[in-house]
């Protein structure tokens, strides 16, 4: 004897129960996974913060070391130790000019160049490039 009505009643209930369990389980697993991901992200952030802080500390320490090394007394001592012989120019070795020194020196060099030449200046011949 077939019992289609009873089977039809139980199977959907079982299916709903299983579905409910599956959904609950998935939700639970999802929540745990989410918590884990939050934890992972938080730890990664923390690690990044620590790395940034470490780089910053290193940078600050380097800046301080550069400042210590660029102290005038330290530079003078290094000049002496390494026998570099660097001294400040005396006043009579300095010349203050109003014009651009590069242009002035170029012009002077040009004048000297033509003065030292024995051949008379006959003009310029320009060749146009192809």
């Amino acid at each position: 004897m077939n019992t289609p009505l009873r089977s039809g009643f139980i199977n959907p209930a079982l299916a709903c129960a299983l579905g409910f369990l599956a959904c609950s389980g998935a939700t639970g697993v999802g929540a745990v996974w989410l918590q884990h991901q939050i934890s992972v992200a938080a730890n990664e952030n923390k690690a990044l913060e620590q790395r940034i802080a470490a780089v910053r500390r290193s940078s600050e320490q380097l800046s301080a070391e550069i400042a210590f090394e660029s102290d005038t007394a330290a530079l003078l001592q290094r000049n002496s130790q390494m026998k570099l012989g660097m001294v400040a120019p005396a006043l009579d070795q300095q010349l203050t000019i109003a014009e651009d020194p590069i242009r002035h020196l170029s012009a002077k060099q040009g004048r000297e160049l033509f003065r030292n030449s024995n051949e008379p200046f006959t003009g310029l011949r320009l060749a146009l490039g192809h």
């Binding site: 600050e60 301080a64 400042a67 020194p101 002077k108």
Partner: protein, 652 residues
Amino acid sequence: MSKGFASTYRIILLAVLVFSAFAGLGARLVWLHVLGRDELLSYIQQARAEILPDYARRGNILDRNAALLAGSVPLNILQVDPSDLRPGDEAKWPELARLIGLPLPALTKILTTKYRSAVTAPPAGGSASRLALNLTGEDDVKLGDADAQGRRLIQWAKLSDQVSESTNAEIAKLNIHGVYSTRVYRRAYPHGELASHLIGFVNQEQEPVQGLERYLDFYLRGENGWKESEKDGHQRELAQFRSRVVHPADGYDVVLTIDAVVQSIAEAELSGIAAKYHPAKATIIISDPRTGYLLALANYPTFDPNSYNKLTKEQQPAMQNVAVNSMYEPGSVFKIVAVAGALDAGLITPQSRFDCTVPTAWYKGRSGGRSPADGPATWKLRPIPKEDVTDHFDHPLTVAEIIAHSSNKGTVQIGFAMGDDLLYKYARAFGFGELAGFPVGGETPGRLGHPGTADWYGRFTRIPMGQSVDVSVLQMHRAMSVIAAGGNLLVPQIVREIKTSTGETVFRYGPAVQRRVISAATAHTMAGLLWGVVNKGKEGSAPEAAIAGFDVVGKTGTAQKVRTDGVPGYLDHHHVISSFIGFFPADNPQVDISVVVDDADSHATPNGTAYGHVVAAPAFHNIALKLIPYLDIRPNRLEVSRATLAFNGGQQ
């Protein structure tokens, strides 16, 4: 399954058990979440919750070119818990000793000393080794309670407090159990003594003690942040449970008007003066008279803020900023006040003449230099040979000659021509007898006196020539700057900018005129008169300050020191305060330099007296020569030099 096994009795028993189990769980949950909630929560909070401080970084102090003058350096304090060491790590100790620069025997002794007696005398004298300090200093070791034998367990001992980040990383790689480090910021002054009287310092607790560190602490300090979080059983933070994060606000950076190079030039010159003349103290101030910005302020003696705590009691006066907190009688350099005031009031002109050979000058029944109550009303000036020579003039001196020769008699007569009220008014206008508003160093207003007071006339007869008036070096420097700045008294500036750590400007201090003292025309005339002091050869009192190609303006001062032993009067001419204050170029002043040397060794001078033109003017000259190329100061007179000829290819 047989029916006998699944009997009703058994089913009921199983149901009761299951129900009891659930009921028990329910009861426990109610207990945990309702009845014992507060107690358990407080326990959990104590065990797991933590507040992690996030320390703000103290701002930097920079010079005007962003050179670091004071900064916070990250360092690590390396500590050890001797009870927590493992025998297997002993092989790493030599490497650890090498990294922290400690002899291995000393390190071994620290690492193997687990107890210390309850009463231990501190190490005696300076011969105490680093080891001894580590084991007995209160800051270098933390002790537990005494046990039954009177011993105290060493909870931790400091190995080093100067471990850099890179060294700390190498130590961490050694992975020695029981050795750990704590990160801290320590204040460092990379240039040592440079501008130490301005910068000041912070103490071991990082609290500001003096100088700009203290004055600008509000900006430099910053605000600490914190994190509310939880930790696990290994005391590690569980970052996912952070409930609140307040980021620290780093302190602002402060940019000074000081130039580290100019400051070092001034301090090098002071060192030279100290080596040659062994003065009690000396000061050099360099400023830009157009803005009032100080480029350098240097004092001798000085100190290194990195090791302020190593100064002995006798050395501690070196920490005083004598440029602003010490008073002295300026002597002849103060004559600029009387002459400028009289010129500005229209009482004299540069061509006005005064008989500087007169024995006595009278003002309201009193003679110059002393009152009738002091004795015969005769003119009596200091027996300085220079004054004796210049006292015999064949003609009444013009005001220009009075300034050039620095004639006391002439200046006093100019002061008398002004009258005491007007002289007082101009002296106050020049900034004497009041605070300049300088923020560090404990500024003194000086002592000028006041018309109407009992001793005023006795003072007034001496004030024109710079006696009976007490000033600070900074005040005298400002007074000369009035002439350089076209008659305006400028506020002396030491701070130029306040910036965030990311470089954004929070506040900028611009030039500030306090008041107009004399007219621009009078200032120009005064500059012309003071030009004669330097540039008229032997007719001037300070040709030593002259610089080829530049019109240097200035005034010397040589003031006998007042006795401090209770006897009224002055010390002999071997104890003087020598000064030279001037600026250049005359037509476009770019630097104002003051050199004041207190009690230079007169035996180191050619004439046996440390005149201003002998001690201070050459220092002015030396400083100016170094500043000309550095600050790109252009000469106002073209003179043909070898350099000119070379530059122009042999042509003038």
